[in-house]
Symmetry: C2
Subunit: 244 residues, 2 copies
DNA sequence: GCTCGTATGTGGTCAGACCACAAAGACTAA
DNA sequence: TTAGTCTTTGTGGTCTGACCACATACGAGC
C-alpha cells in the first residue's frame, strides 16, 4: 500500500481533492509540470493518470494558453461508460447476451416508470425522433442511429444520469453487432416499418399510462431485432419474459 | 479523424485486434517498445494507452521476465466499473440519489428473477455470508463489507457478468457514503439486527418463490438504510415504490 | 545432477527536449 | 486613439534516452 505506483498516487490525490471539495466541476487542474513537482513524480506519470481521467469522462484537456486550455473537470460519464463496455465486449469480458439482458431490464423499468407517471413533455424529444425516422430516404445506418437516440431519449426523460450513462454504454457496446446484423435481415424496409410501428405503439402506451402494454412492447421490440438478425443464434436459450 | 492522438492510435489498434480475434483473453500484448516501434509512436504514448486498458480492467501488467510478465488480456470489468462510478460520484457527475435509484432497479429485478426461478444452489453463497454476519464481534465496517458481498452474491447468482459488474460499481461508488452514514445511526446493534432479519426474510422469500415479497423486502431494505443514516436528507423527494 | 550467480529483457519511472497551439501583451501603422 | 499585427509566454502532446527493480533463463562451478 505504501508502494503505490506513481500514476496511482496522482489519481488518488485528485480523487481526494474531488471528495473534499477542493476540486469542483469546471475547475482547472494544476498544470502537468506543477502537479508532477508537487507530488514528487515524473510528468509522464501525471500524464498517465490524466489520460485515465480523460477516458473515464472526468476531465477535458486542451493545449494552448488561456482559460480554455489545460485540464478541466467536466464529469461527463457517457463516453467513459461507452468505452468501458465497448472494450469489454471486444475482449469477451461481457457477452452480447448479457448486454441485451441488462438493457432489457433497464429499458423495461424505464418505460414502466414513464407510463406510471405519464408526462407529455417527457415524450417531446422521443416523438421528434420518431418523426425523423419516418423519412423514406434514410440509410439503414442513419435509421439505426435515430433508433438509438430514440431509446436513449426515453431513458433521459427519467432524469437519472446513472441510468442514462449506463444505457448509452450498453447501446454503444453492441453497436457494431447491431450494424453487422443488417445483412442477415430478410427485408430491411419491412423491418424498418415494424420498428416504426413498435415505436409508435410504445410511445402511445406510455402516453396512455398503460404500464403493462409498455413493458410488453419494449420487451418484444428489443428481443425481436436481436433474434431477427441472427445475433442470438449462438446461445440457444430463449430470452426470458419480462419480470411480472 | 486522420489526426488522432498517438495514444488513441494504440487504443484503436488493440481494440481492432480484439474484435478481429487476433488478441484473445489470456494472450500477451507485444512489449511496450515493440508496440511503439510497430505503430510509429513513442513508448510513453503506448504506456498511456496501456494505463487506460489496465484501469478499465482489460489487461494486467507485471514486470520482470517470463510468461507471467508483460501485459496480459484478462477482461475483468469489475474494477473498471467501480473506478468509473466512484470517480464520477466524487466529481458530481453521478448523484448518490441516482446511484441508489439504479441499484434499486437492478436489485429488485435480480431478486425477482431469482424468486421466479428458485434454485437452492444459487443461495449457497448468500447463506454462507448470512451466517458470517451472525458473528457478534464484528465491527460495523466488517459487517458492511459482508453485507455488500451478500448483495453482490445474489446478483452473481444470475450469471450475468454485465449485471454483476454494474452492481459492483454502484455499490463501491457509494461505499464512502455508506460508511460515513454510520455515525448518524441511533443504534448500530439495532440496525445490524434489522439488516440481519431483512436478509433472512429476503432469502426465504426467494427460496419460497415469492416474487412479490422478495421485491417488497429488497426495496424497503435498501431505502431504509439510506434514509436511516440521513443520506437522503438532501433531496426531500421520497424514494418511489418499486414498479409493479 | 544440482546450486547459485549472472545475463537478459520486461514494465515502471524520470528527465529533458522539442512541437503545435492559443492567448495575452507589445508594438506598429493608420 | 485605434486597429491591426507581431512577439512572448505557457500550455498540453510527443518523443528519446536513460536508469531501476524485478523475474526468468541460462550457464558456470560444485
Amino acid at each position: 500500500m505504501v508502494e503505490a505506483r506513481a500514476w496511482q498516487i496522482v489519481l488518488e490525490r485528485i480523487e481526494q481533492d474531488l471528495l473534499s471539495g477542493v476540486l469542483q466541476p469546471g475547475d482547472h487542474l494544476p498544470g502537468e509540470r506543477a502537479l508532477a513537482a508537487e507530488l514528487g513524480v515524473g510528468r509522464s506519470s501525471v500524464r498517465e493518470a490524466l489520460r485515465v481521467l480523460e477516458v473515464l469522462g472526468l476531465i477535458r484537456t486542451a493545449s494552448g494558453s488561456g482559460p480554455r486550455s489545460g485540464a478541466i473537470i467536466v464529469a461527463l460519464p457517457g463516453g467513459g461508460m461507452s468505452a468501458l463496455m465497448r472494450l469489454q465486449v471486444a475482449a469477451q469480458g461481457f457477452s452480447v447476451d448479457d448486454i441485451v439482458q441488462t438493457r432489457l431490464i433497464l429499458e423495461t423499468e424505464t418505460v414502466s416508470r414513464l407510463a406510471g407517471n405519464p408526462d407529455n413533455r417527457a415524450l417531446t424529444v422521443p416523438r421528434t425522433l420518431l418523426s425523423a425516422m419516418d423519412s423514406a430516404n434514410l440509410t439503414p445506418e442513419e435509421f439505426l442511429t435515430l433508433d438509438a437516440q430514440f431509446h436513449l431519449s426515453l431513458t433521459e426523460a427519467l432524469g437519472n444520469h446513472v441510468l442514462t450513462a449506463t444505457m448509452a454504454g450498453l447501446r454503444s457496446s453492441i453497436e457494431a453487432y447491431v450494424q453487422s446484423g443488417l445483412p442477415g435481415l430478410a427485408s430491411w424496409p419491412a423491418t424498418a416499418n415494424r420498428l416504426r410501428h413498435e415505436h409508435r405503439e410504445l410511445t402511445d402506451a406510455i402516453a396512455a399510462g398503460n404500464v403493462e402494454l409498455a413493458r410488453t412492447v419494449i420487451h418484444d421490440h428489443i428481443t425481436d431485432y436481436y433474434v431477427e438478425t441472427g445475433l442470438a443464434e449462438r446461445s440457444g436459450e430463449s430470452v426470458p419474459a419480462p419480470a411480472r
